[in-house]
Symmetry: C2
Subunit: 203 residues, 2 copies
Amino acid sequence: MRAAIDLADADGLEAVSLRKVATALDVRPMRLYGYIAGKEELLDLMVDAAYAEIRATGDGWREALRSHAEATRRAAHEHEWLADLLGGRPQLGPHALASGETVLAALGDVDVDSVMPMVAAVKAYVIGAVRREIAERRAERATGMDEKHWQAALGPYLQRTLATGRFPALATVVRDAAHLDADQTFRIGLDFLLDGIEARVSR
Amino acid sequence: MRAAIDLADADGLEAVSLRKVATALDVRPMRLYGYIAGKEELLDLMVDAAYAEIRATGDGWREALRSHAEATRRAAHEHEWLADLLGGRPQLGPHALASGETVLAALGDVDVDSVMPMVAAVKAYVIGAVRREIAERRAERATGMDEKHWQAALGPYLQRTLATGRFPALATVVRDAAHLDADQTFRIGLDFLLDGIEARVSR
DNA sequence: CATCGAGCGATACAGTGTATCGAAAGATAC
DNA sequence: GTATCTTTCGATACACTGTATCGCTCGATG
């Protein structure tokens, strides 16, 4: 599993193959099946290992949810392949459960029936936000490699398409709106969600 | 692309191979490269085609965002493979842009700098929520196949793990909290988010 | 009618995950 | 100490995957 994570960190998830993991461990490929049931289980183990770093800190439900969200995002920045795997399968490994425990422990004084929807909503938001963020980062890395303004980076295609006048509202927003960076976008969306939760919970 | 969607609808995304698509079209595999650049482009085309059904309806920003979210979820229910692809790469195809246009058009009277964060947050939530929902649905289908209560469905493992006492908060929530169905969970989270947006936008 | 060019597809290559089964090694019984 | 049994191990094989290469075929042009 550690070998697989190293491979994925270096060259992405599609670089993880049982054969490469085996050679990294100086072992014959079939030997891996003595420890894992197949590749899917290996991926699950990788995700669970990543959850070891995802913990909630601070007091109160809001700070717990916020810190858990930021920790998840941080882990995905460190291991971009996590964005490909998060939410893809239910995570019930020990580290994932321990991670959930840290956030639920901080929600002790919240109505028990509200806890699940709250953390489910935050987790859903984080998964989607991180996915989009990593996807955009990869696209920037693939094309451009240096240009900061994605308008120019993703090239003539969008410019041309927006110039057709078929998407007036989209063109207006792209032209007139301030473009926030990834950190701001993530935090604003998270604040939206936490504000909405606060309004319903404390009422 | 239509052939690929049929394959994915029937047997999941991993059943989509260029060879199978080719034989479905009664064509030799290499012939496909006259129309697409590779498999990734085919997947992008599939996603863009799915976006054709994802539109925002109704008046006002809240109803636009809500309907867009529900439409996305509906599309993912009809094409479960969409959950695997959503958010994985930036979507700039014509149908995806047209989909975004319908929601942005309904946000005309919102401060232009607030528009992007609003739709980004909703899209992120939807992607994550749908992913988790489909993942859970698949897990239920794989194990059990009939049991409604996932506590029993995912078997002795969780029961045993929770019984260890290492995750007291988790155990309490699982035992005491009401378990909502997927529809309710999705809508509650979406309402959290829309409420939070409303609080910040109209202020 | 001949030549050329472009579209096409058979073949090939380097991979992938995993099933099978013979060989080796370790543990047990005498 | 030897013989049997059992468990562990790995080489090989299979059915796939996406895609590069390149010779062939066929239609259009001179």
